[in-house]
Symmetry: C2
Subunit: 467 residues, 2 copies
């Protein structure tokens, strides 16, 4: 699993490079070694060199690139910000890598219909800032939201803390323009809340990890910006009580806008990183946010605090927005903070049905102990999505072997409880070999069938998802 290499590499011949240069412009077609290297990795730190990097500026240019490559049997791999954790943007078979960095415009924010039309390269945070100025809200907030792009978010069906209340990227995509193998643009979906004409091709494309086509325009649903929010910090001395607390909050009919946890190692990593004043001796920390109408909020936050206390936690309600923001900044710094704990971060994002958390979380922690690995657990516990990180040197063969076995046990644990091997990150190349754990051969055959409909020659982001 950790020795993933490029295979069946296809280099772009000189004459095709020239055609690409002529058709879409010299400076948008890069093939020197440094450029190829710069586009050869993502957040997995696995390196795979493209033969050529193309940086289109218009939908029409994307159409031309795909059309030319497909006719010539050259693989095409789309790339957003390259912030993915499963290698989705890596050109497994070389060929052409299409970077969407220049297609980064917000084309329209239609306030009356609460809809935004964007190019795929728009940074998620930038869109969020623009719509919030207008009293609107685009909820999905992956940890990388300050640099990841909407195109990548759609391809991976990105999540984030707020998704426990607001749903994942899928719930906000209304329309897609997608360049498919034939070099044609298909338009799917409608900018309306309801539409049941034909198969739901839009939702086949969401989460398809760029393996079915290249998005060139995306219409997103926006919602009214919540009027206010409140945050509670709760410190627990055992992990089972945390699971119970999560259950009790939902049972009380409260739908938190974020419900995050971090274990002791995660808390200490964050404190080493930024000195946020989190309690270093706490076994587990929960951060719980509720949002909505200010009057409803007052009652709900007190109820949340009470539930935490009843489960043995020591609780603090953030008194000001600034205090709350400080807590969330601490939470958001987890990813870089944890990265400092080891040279290599093996970052899994399994999911459990909520009610099994009290039972599953101690078992999860036990896996790290049994394999004698530095394991940091945190994540979106409100929706059962746990980030299990193994921090390793990556240089010791025995450590690598133990990590491989531990990761497999982590997946088995999630599947034992009817969960999933990935809640947010996707399958890409790093989880490809685990698809058969989760799906029956016929189910994978159906997925392969769909892949063939969109990509008969297997040239669109090949080598991904185990398909």
């Amino acid at each position: 699993m950790f020795e993933i290499e490029q295979r069946e590499i296809i280099n772009v011949p000189e004459n095709i490079k020239n055609i690409l240069r002529k058709e879409i412009g010299e400076y948008k077609v890069l093939d020197d070694d440094m450029d190829r290297l710069l586009y050869s990795y993502d957040a997995t730190r696995i390196k795979m060199l493209p033969s050529v990097v193309v940086i289109p500026e218009t939908e029409e240019e994307v159409r031309k690139v795909v059309s030319i490559c497909y006719q010539e049997g050259i693989p095409v791999t789309p790339r957003g910000a390259g912030s993915g954790y499963t290698g989705g943007a890596l050109p497994v078979k070389g060929g052409v890598l299409v970077s969407f960095e220049k297609m980064d415009r917000i084309l329209e924010i239609d306030e009356e219909n609460a809809v935004a039309r964007v190019q795929p390269g728009v940074v998620t945070y930038k869109l969020q800032q623009e719509v919030e100025k207008r009293g609107l809200f685009y909820p999905p907030d992956p940890a990388s939201y300050k640099f990841c792009t909407i195109g990548g978010n759609v391809a991976e069906n990105a999540g984030g803390p707020r998704c426990v209340k607001y749903g994942v990227t899928r719930e906000y995509v209304m329309e897609l323009n997608t360049v498919i193998y034939s070099g044609e643009i298909i338009h799917t979906g409608r900018p309306t809340l309801k539409d049941v004409a034909g198969y739901d091709i839009t939702r086949v494309l969401i989460g398809s990890e760029g393996t079915l086509g290249l998005f060139t325009e995306i219409t997103l649903k926006l919602i009214p910006k919540p009027k206010a929010s409140k945050t509670v910090k709760a410190i627990f001395s055992d992990i089972a009580s945390v699971g119970k607390t999560v259950k009790d909050i939902f049972k009380a009919g409260i739908s938190p806008s974020a419900l995050e946890f971090m274990d002791k190692l995660a808390i200490n990593a964050v404190e080493d990183f930024g000195h946020f004043g989190l309690p270093r001796d706490a076994e587990v920390l929960l951060l719980i946010e509720v949002d909505g109408h200010p009057k409803a909020l007052e009652e709900e936050i007190v109820e949340v605090a009470r539930i935490c206390e009843l489960n043995g936690a020591s609780v603090e309600i953030a008194q000001t927005d600034r205090e709350a923001e400080n807590l969330w900044t601490a939470r958001r710094s987890l990813s870089p903070a944890v990265s400092k704990l080891g040279r290599v971060k093996i970052n899994e994002d399994i999911v459990f049905p909520r009610s099994y958390l009290p039972e599953a979380l101690p078992q999860l922690r036990d896996i790290g102990k049994r394999y004698n690995l530095k394991m940091v657990n945190f994540g979106h516990i409100g929706d059962g999505n746990v980030h299990a990180n193994f921090m390793i040197s990556g240089l010791d063969p025995d450590e690598l072997k133990r990590t491989e076995k531990a990761v497999e046990e982590v997946f088995d644990l999630a599947l034992k409880y009817g969960g999933s091997i990935t809640g947010e990150h996707g399958v890409g190349i790093t989880k490809a070999s685990f698809m058969k754990k989760m799906f029956k051969p016929k189910e994978i055959e159906i997925m392969r069938g769909i892949k063939s409909v969109f990509d008969p020659e297997g040239l669109i982001n090949p080598g991904k998802m185990g398909l």
Copy 2:
């Protein structure tokens, strides 16, 4: 369009009937004329005779039926309650009709994870009652909710008034067991809020109108039951102000749990039907519900009333739950009430992006006038989903011709504004010929490709969706 007939009818040979009887039980395989007639129509009133009706009681029996039929080249058409408006449950090519009426059990209501597992034949209202007893909520509420079934709701991706706030059936389906052509059961989805492993086959199946496989088990997401609700009745003297009011409500950051309108003809039809005390001389009536936390509600309903008044409406807030319930009973009786206005109801459910409603609604009404047809407009104006009904005798060839032209203009109007030809009812057979208005040839080719992956011989609910 109104002369849809069965074609390429395949009768089930005696020996296959005997195999079916032997495999799944004598009394579950019906082929006398009366039984076939009883299962030959749906809410379109178009009649299409199946050769055999099979009423399975278990998933295994469904599996056997599909397996036997597929091997023998016999079409299989699934049927829920037969309450659809586009002929989805009609056996266009004869063969075997599979009725899910006996697979009507709620298998599990998991309160801790807020999830329900049901058989496809469960009546939507029955499930709603059961989950509400437990403080949970299943929002989708098609007009037929007291008799339609969850299986049909999933197949058609059913909507209803509440969907403006809570989303359509799609948003609540977590897992599906589906019997496909090979007689195998595929399991898709997970009972978790997040899961991004593999293509989203669940959402390909939702809204596929039973053309890709037969659902045998469905896991649904539930949410906490809203604590309270309030209803406003607003009477308008012109239709453009109604469109403006809808826009203003959303602009104020209020997300109503229902926002319904009926025009004069609809109001009078309801009054003739049930004497609810609605104002017969009103040009348009809006019913607006907000739900949620009681304290937030008090403010929001007053704000809604104020917005209606500013737009020229005469407004009343229902003072008791009973008063509110009376208004919603009136709204729900619209379907049967309108049916009394003509022998045949041609019921279209187009969608507009919200902001175009003030402009589009008068044009819609104008279509009825120009073709000299009795036209009743009502529907879910909050999400732009308008039910445009032509009430005709169905016996006058000239009237039929005018209706056909009018319907085409209705669709053109929706598409002109970037809307859809169907928001809730699906395509089935009645809208099949209009698919090419909405989709490009390549888009339809992709849909046909997906159909082939799931149904290589074209035997699963054939003749639907123009595919």
